[in-house]
Symmetry: C2
Subunit: 340 residues, 2 copies
């Protein structure tokens, strides 16, 4: 059942039927009702391909997915996706993932924009002066950055959490508890979030005349194994830290294992605070010693990004407003006063 058939059936022109269906004003309400009725009754659904060709709108939002045999998709992604999908569903938006060589995403961005394959895109895990941000900005497609990039001469719309503030708070608490040697087990420090977190820790330390030693900060891919290794390395050096801030719950698993392997205890020998993105399958309160965390639901962020994308597509949102969400510090059993 297509427009032609439907309009013929109603003895109306395609124009009128199309307008009636799309809510244009120049059609009699009585007629509109008739049309709507018939459309529903015959289960008419406009062919999206045709509509796309005519309007250029696709009803899809895009994401360029970095891939490669040695490229792992971050497990956070799936939670973000949950939120995104949940919102998208209620607005009849689909999400198209365009896999790209991790080292050449630019080509793919250009392609999906040139081809008008999506109405908007989002960018995640941005780095300072991220080329992708600059690119989509010049390409002129609506977009939202999840996270932040820095060092551009233009503004852009983003949704981020206050990573610096969160880790500042966490470090401040540890310092207040008497810790003098803090360590940071961070994610990839080429990404902005990691930079911000380190900045937060440094700022808190500086406020008390302390510093974050060169050897007290690790930047690694966020796996359990890397958490373990980093912790071993940290705790086996001469000026071992008495407290650790850790960028992910997954790495925290490794931290806990390492501490145990070394015959130490949390929080007796080491205080630990980790960032919790709120996974349904791994909760900080369920660690053998309940974990203190800086907490921010990445799923909510996904929903928010979808919401903003939808708003930008429909022209409800404009400009380059960036929003930064505060992060909760949740204190549990894994922190205590510095030993000794």
């Amino acid at each position: 059942m297509n427009l032609k058939q439907l309009s013929h059936m109603l003895s109306l022109s395609q124009t009128t039927v199309s307008r009636a269906l799309n809510g244009y004003p120049e059609v009699n309400e009585e007629t509109r009702r008739r049309v709507m009725d018939a459309a529903k009754r015959h289960g008419y659904r406009p062919n999206p391909s045709a509509r796309r060709l005519a309007t250029g709108k696709t009803g899809m939002i895009g994401y360029v997915l970095p891939t490669g045999t040695s490229v792992d998709i971050d497990p956070h992604f799936v939670e973000f996706l949950s939120g995104l999908g949940d919102y998208a569903r209620s607005h009849e938006l689909d999400l198209v993932l365009s896999p790209a060589d991790a080292d050449d995403q630019e080509t793919t961005y250009r392609r999906i924009v040139a081809n008008r394959q999506v109405d908007a895109v989002y960018i995640s895990s941005p780095r300072p002066a991220d080329r992708r941000v600059a690119l989509v900005n010049t390409l002129g497609i609506p977009f939202i950055v999840h996270g932040r990039s820095e060092g551009f001469d233009f503004d852009y719309p983003f949704t981020d959490i206050d990573n610096e503030g969160a880790f500042h708070e966490a470090a401040r608490l540890l310092v207040q508890l008497g810790h003098r040697r803090l360590a940071l087990i961070n994610g990839d420090d080429r990404e902005t979030f990691a930079i911000h977190r380190e900045r937060g820790v440094r700022r808190a330390l500086a406020a008390s005349g302390l510093t974050l030693g060169e050897r007290h900060v690790c930047s690694v891919v966020m796996t359990e194994e890397n958490g373990y290794r980093a912790t071993r390395r940290l705790l086996e050096q001469s000026d071992a830290p008495t407290a650790i801030a850790c960028s992910s719950l997954i790495m925290a698993l490794g931290v806990v294992r390492a501490v145990r392997d070394l015959g130490l205890t949390i929080p007796g020998d080491l205080s630990l605070i980790a960032h919790d993105d709120v996974f349904p399958w791994l909760k900080p309160e369920n660690f053998s010693v309940p974990l203190s965390t800086t907490r921010s639901s990445i799923r909510l962020a996904g929903a928010r990004v979808a919401e903003r994308l939808a708003a930008r597509i429909s022209g409800l949102e404009e400009g380059a407003r960036g929003e930064v969400w505060p992060v909760d510090l949740v204190v549990r059993g894994s922190v205590a006063g510095a030993p000794g």
Copy 2:
């Protein structure tokens, strides 16, 4: 730059240019070269929307993503996606995720098929007599099931691992080691994979005249917390098992924690074998006691599904061939002879 302009520029008809570009035989090789050349030089790229409208082909594969505020996407999904994306990239295929109410996916399947939004779909986490499988089968869109459904009067193409065989092997090993009371901490037993795993365990036990007690099998959503709870329940009952087979590494984290909380040890008091889908961020060899596993890369499965989908789209694959991959049993420190 569109076809019209390009053909005008070459003083050829659109027909000829189109054919030259798409490799049709009825065009002079000399002409083809000229066309190809000009296309490349001017960066001509056919408009996919237009092509879609004309051919019906989209170059996309679809997945209906169950969502809802209380619906969590399985973390396995992201690994599967890695593999899928990796293959898709090399074949210029995009993946479209259509979020759907978890309780009504049918509408969405119908929509994406009716709208010709994708060339093929895949289905994951199937249940016995899964309605989605029956649906896409009748809708006539190419598809592959990742996993298996059962109880249909038709065949369908799937890629699955030998869950039954894997857990049969695991249980057999445990029995050989003298264990008499096994327990199974399984995933949602409405899904086929869980049913097969249970079947495998039962078969192994039966071969030695043993059975899997009612209270020795748990079916839960695969989270760390549920692994913990299940283990506590199992180990605190009178006829506590001496060995556990566990359906996921994430739950195994909870198992290990519960065992520790109870002051017991692995493998001294309890042997443990878990299924490992091969996450880059959590490895069985890195558990405090290296974990024995049944091992099968879900990422490889993703790549394979993508490959088969591509083959079906292009007509290279037909029929309803199902394939079942063997699963490796990897023995590590977490298993030992039964205590006592």
